[in-house]
């Protein structure tokens, strides 16, 4: 195996194999330009479809309710910054904090426990291995709704309703199936030679896992990490029923929508959406560079 590192912008690999002159260039420049223009048109089209609703929501956060529905395409007469104050008064800040705490705890724990289980299942033979694996995999087929009421009683008996630790543990439990499934496939593809070498050097089983295997599995960890951050951040059903008194962001938005149906304060609702979106998007923009680098560097063969 070889590890090639690439620069972040999908440029040339640093260890480019030698290129023989004249190979691989089947078309002339004209064809390239045509393909290039077409690609850009299509890609820009989709980008617009994604960005316009998002930008429009941001703009709606400084409009009055009348302007949002009366003249959707125009800029507001006066920027209604008071929308934000009203939204904040409705508890958006607290919702955001709850979300961040729960997702942070949930994802870290999910990644750790999920990789541990997946690693053992992928690389060790023992009686019951398949059974445990299928038990986890079956969890993916599992409509959360089926269990929501009994789950409520389980969490309650543990005294964990509307607590961070309760939500974190439930998030982890429900994220495990896909994490195990995904990482299992990934660990299967890792070469054995490096691990064997480490065993020769006298590493313990756990040592091999933490020092050799986990670093090698970084791309997989990143992909599934993103899955989990998104999944847990967007989780709405579980907190809705298990954490009524400590709402996370997704719940908070739904609650605000429900309450503004009576108050008719659309401006404040969009301000709340903006408060909910902007920090996440900022984090995403910062984080995305690492994701890109992580996904494109240290690629394994």
């Amino acid at each position: 195996m070889a590890v090639t590192t690439r620069t972040g912008d999908a440029g040339q690999p640093t260890t480019a194999p030698p290129r023989r002159p004249g190979d691989g260039r089947r078309t002339g420049r004209a064809g390239d330009v045509g393909v290039n223009v077409f690609s850009h048109v299509v890609l820009v089209g989709w980008s617009v479809m994604v960005l316009v609703p998002f930008a429009w929501a941001l703009l709606a956060s400084v409009k009055t309710s009348g302007e949002i529905f009366g003249s959707p395409w125009s800029l507001p007469e006066v920027f209604q910054w008071s929308n934000f104050a009203r939204a904040w008064d409705k508890g958006v800040g607290q919702y955001l904090l709850n979300s961040v705490i729960v997702v942070t705890g949930g994802v870290v724990l999910t990644m750790l426990l999920g990789s541990m289980a997946a690693y053992v299942l992928a690389r060790y033979r023992f009686p019951g291995n398949r059974l445990v694996y299928y038990l986890f995999a079956a969890g993916m087929m599992f409509p959360v709704f089926l269990a929501i009421v009994p789950l409520f009683f389980v969490v309650q008996n543990l005294g964990m309703l509307s607590t961070y630790q309760g939500l974190i543990l439930v998030y982890v439990a429900y994220s495990l199936p896909f994490t195990v499934f995904f990482m299992h496939a990934f660990f299967k593809t890792l070469p054995t030679s490096v691990a064997e070498a480490a065993f020769m050097d006298g590493c313990s089983h756990a040592g091999v896992f933490f020092r050799v295997m986990l670093p090698m599995a970084k791309p997989g960890l990143l992909s599934i990490g993103i899955f989990n951050v998104i999944g847990q951040f967007n989780q709405f059903v579980l907190p809705q029923f298990l954490s009524p008194e400590k709402p996370v962001l997704a719940q908070g938005i739904a609650t605000l929508l429900a309450s503004q149906r009576y108050e008719g304060d659309w401006g404040a609702l969009f301000a709340a959406l903006t408060i909910a979106m902007v920090p996440v998007v900022v984090v995403y923009l910062l984080f995305y560079r690492q994701v890109q680098a992580g996904l494109t560097s240290g690629t394994l063969k």
Partner: protein, 303 residues
Amino acid sequence: MRHGQYRFIVGFLVLPLALYAIFVISPFVQAFYYSLTNWTGVSPQFDFVGLQNFQTLTQDSLFLRAVRNNLVLLVGMPLAVILLALFYAFLLNVGGAGSGVGVRGVRGSGFYKLAFFLPQVLSVPVIAVIWAVILDPTPTGLVNSAMRRVGFGGSGWLADPNLALYCVLWVLVWGSVGFYLVLFNAAMSSIPRDIYEAALIDGAGRVATFFRVTIPLLWDTIQTSWVYLAILALDVYALVAVMTPGPGGPANATQVISLQIAQNGFQFGRAGYASAMGVVLFFFTLIIAAIMLRATRRQRIEY
């Protein structure tokens, strides 16, 4: 060595398994049991009614409607998302004016991936609220006023029983394509370059390389994505509950199983009946996943 190995295996598995058993398996088994009772969900007493709930289900017009809508989403959404994501990944790869193959971005591919991926970081209720307002059915709604300027008439969108479900489908696709694009792209970048080199030496063009080399090597990722998307399509509760009027849409056009479970379990005080729906949904998912994994099974390509 062996002894140590078992200790290690148990040590690594005990925590994940314990959590999983307590929070997933046990409620799940209990739910199967509740599906055989007439439990209301708001009182601690109930009777055992056998399969009565399942019998009622087969005659519940609303539930059957929900099943039908779920099937539409189940077929349409994974198909649309994967095709679009692959198509865009292909464009990102072959659209570049530069030389070479593999992950050769068009200029600005970083920006495209950034933009496409954006909906993924927004929580579902946020997306639902935005689209509900954009698709406002009045002439002054954002989409309608845009269409009017271009000379088309407006439309009822989520208020139109013929369109509402497709609006939901659209929002699902809109939100998911970016993630799968990035995922496929990342998977492509893990394909060894010398495979491409070999293909090029054989004189294959970019399109041929994409179809004959890239796609087969991505097959595992595509298959995983497919299963994941199917499960997402079966459980669209948050989007439908927040976005569509009712919820459940005009003429129940966007009624889905998860919504029915929530409605019966909580609004109507029929937790037992709702559990029966959950059991149906469970088998539904199981069958779908089995079919998909079987249908898309191919030789693993080792490299």
